[in-house]
């Protein structure tokens, strides 16, 4: 489906905070990682090991201190702020632990927002597309509700729909189920997994929930800013159905 086999390549990616200050610390110590298009990848690891930092770098929200990052065939090294912003908008969808929906808008409008940002204005086709996405998340009934009036699980499903708005090849989800009870977490995870199977969207899922991680194609463990050996039992590649 995607022309580039490897949607994501990281080579020797390092990240330091507080550069030039006495508290300079390196958080990522040379990450090498390749992710194939269509993979559903779990990233696990203890708190403070650098998972969010890694995801923010992959998501072009943050810049690595050194190393190379290639997204969907584009080498991001040396890209300017504007190009990074454009690439991010078109190729990457985000789901965060604290959903971060925009409270001034309804569920439908939140899902439309990436399309409006992309095109500069709203049009009726966007509303139809957003309704379809909310349909996948079983949220049609709530589309005109202010997002503050939805439950945690519903809000997170709106966030997943929003991440898919521009049909990006890559979705980054940082502990999306961290604040949800088991049933709600299952609801969110199952829908992401189905999108991955049906549309071939690549997912990077940071999670502490090992039961969910087990159901991914591959598990990557980050410990102290390095990728640990892949735990036994993880699948070697995308599972078929």
């Amino acid at each position: 489906m995607r022309s580039v086999a490897e949607i994501l390549v990281l080579e020797a990616v390092r990240k330091s905070y507080g550069i030039g200050t006495p508290v300079e610390t390196e958080v990522l110590h040379g990450i090498d990682l390749a992710v194939r298009a269509g993979e559903f990848l779990a990233i696990i690891g203890p708190s403070g090991s650098g998972k969010s930092t890694l995801l923010n770098i992959i998501g072009l929200l943050d810049r690595p201190t050194s190393g190379r990052l290639v997204i969907d065939g584009t080498d991001t090294t040396g890209l300017g702020d504007g190009d990074r912003t454009r690439l991010r908008g078109r190729t990457i969808g985000f789901v965060f632990q604290h959903h971060y929906l925009i409270s001034a808008f309804t569920a439908l409008e939140n899902v439309m927002m990436p399309m409006i940002v992309d095109r500069g204005r709203a049009d009726p086709a966007m509303a139809r597309r957003a309704e379809e996405l909310l349909g996948w998340m079983d949220l049609e009934r709530w589309r005109n509700n202010r997002v503050n009036n939805l439950s945690g699980g519903q809000q997170q499903r709106v966030a997943v729909a929003r991440a898919l708005a521009l049909d990006p090849p890559l979705v980054l989800a940082d502990e999306p189920t961290g604040n949800l009870d088991t049933a709600a977490a299952e609801g969110v995870f199952a829908r992401m997994r189905r999108i991955n199977r049906e549309r071939g969207t690549t997912f990077l899922l940071v999670t502490h929930n090992l039961a969910l991680a087990e159901r991914c194609d591959r598990i990557v463990e980050v410990v102290d800013g390095r990728i640990a050996a892949e735990p036994a039992g993880a699948h070697a590649g995308p599972a078929a159905g």
Partner: protein, 408 residues
């Protein structure tokens, strides 16, 4: 969601709508500020327009008069003054030397509209047992009526002036018991005496003027005042009334006359207007500043409250420029909406003021001058002020690092 609005406007309007209390309070502030400015500016414009209208329609903007006769000290030998006390000579009614040549020269100037030589003096009007002292203005109606629109004030008869005709003020006509077609005797201290027929009666809306004003043909006044072939005054109107001062000085420089412009004659009025304008400008400036600070303060708080929203919009692919514009639009909208409400408030209060506060006789204190220009200027300025006030908060919003915003 409105399909025609750009993203920046959608987000800006929604943010304003969601911050209900903040928006209402700052709108109230802007409204009051703009209302005060509109009220004050319109009132000042009304007072000025009132005055200027009078100047434009009922008086010459420059008057040329004979140079005053100056008394010189008596000297027997050079340097020795014999009579040290110099009395100011009584100013006789004098004709302007070579007034015809001067009038022609002034009329030839491109910046001059009308030149009307007149002979003016006082006289006694007698009819039967009644007599009144009057002021006689002799002139050429073809010129003079273009400066002082006497025919506009006619209440009876017509403003036709043959050599034996006279147009009189309404009070004078009443005092003398004269109507149109009646004759009155006019005599002067210099021995002039004529019997004139009343052809028109005018009402200037001013008792003093109605009691004394009379108009006759130039020749008639010349013979009454013993100034045959002379002119005591040359009345001049100019194209640009504000240039009257310069033109007057120019004329006085080239011809042996004294030239008074309306600007000099009404120096007090201008000083008052200038003082009022200065304070008006200062008030505008400070109201504008406090409006700007108010908008900036509200938006700074809004940026902080919405830093997560801004972070997520940036993560979604919104550029810094887009975020910047969201807040500039909010500032502009607050300024513009406030100015519209403020214009309504200011114009409404001025309207009520104009209705309730009247002169003793019920006439208006000042004319209502509410021009579209004023509102358009207020709206533009307020919107601009809003945008400028939003600049600092907007730059701050645009510089929010999405990573910081998302990490919380």
């Amino acid at each position: 969601m409105n399909r025609w609005l750009p993203f920046e406007w959608i987000a800006a309007l929604r943010f304003l709508a969601e911050g209900r209390m903040q928006t209402v309070f700052i709108l109230g502030g802007v409204t009051i500020g703009v209302g005060v400015i509109v009220f004050m500016s319109a009132m000042l414009a009304g007072l000025q327009a009132n005055f200027i209208r009078r100047v434009l329609t009922s008086q010459p903007q420059i008057q040329l008069l004979p140079r005053e006769e100056a008394a010189r000290p008596l000297r027997a030998v050079r340097g020795v003054i014999e009579a040290a006390v110099v009395q100011r000579p009584t100013q006789r009614i004098l004709s302007i030397d070579q007034w015809q040549a001067i009038a022609a020269a002034v009329r030839a100037r491109p910046d001059v509209l009308v030149v009307a030589p007149t002979v003016a003096g006082s006289a006694l009007a007698v009819r039967g047992d009644a007599s009144r002292s009057i002021s006689v203005v002799g002139m050429d109606p073809a010129q003079y009526f273009r400066i002082v629109r006497v025919p506009d004030y006619l209440v009876a008869g017509e403003a036709r002036l043959g050599t034996d005709d006279i147009v009189v003020g309404s009070e004078l006509a009443r005092n003398l018991g004269a109507g149109v077609g009646d004759r009155i005797n006019v005599t002067t201290a210099r021995g002039g005496q004529r019997t004139l027929t009343v052809t028109g009666i005018v009402d200037f809306g001013n008792k003093g003027a109605n009691e004394r004003s009379t108009y006759v043909a130039l020749r008639t006044a010349q013979s009454l005042l013993d100034l045959v072939g002379g002119a005591t005054t040359i009345d001049v109107t100019v194209a640009d009334i504000y240039a009257a001062d310069v033109i007057a000085r120019d004329i006085a420089g080239m011809a042996p006359v004294k030239a008074d412009s309306w600007i000099t004659t009404n120096a007090q009025f201008f000083t008052a207007v200038r003082a009022q304008q200065t304070s008006n400008t200062l008030i505008r400036l400070f109201v504008g500043l406090s409006v700007a600070f108010g908008i900036a303060a509200v938006l700074v708080v809004s940026v902080i409250q919405r830093s997560k929203d801004i972070g997520i919009l940036r993560a979604m692919g919104a550029s810094r420029g887009r975020i910047l514009r969201i807040f500039l639009v909010q500032g502009g909208v607050l300024g513009f909406a406030g100015s519209v409400l403020g214009s309504v408030l200011g114009a409404g209060s001025l309207f009520l003021w104009h209705r309730w506060f009247r002169q003793a006789d019920g006439s208006e204190l000042f004319p209502l001058v509410l021009t579209a220009d004023l509102f358009a200027a207020a709206a533009m300025l307020a919107a601009l002020t809003g945008v400028l006030a939003a600049l600092a908060p907007a730059v701050r919003a645009a510089s929010i690092d999405p990573v910081d915003a998302i990490r919380g």
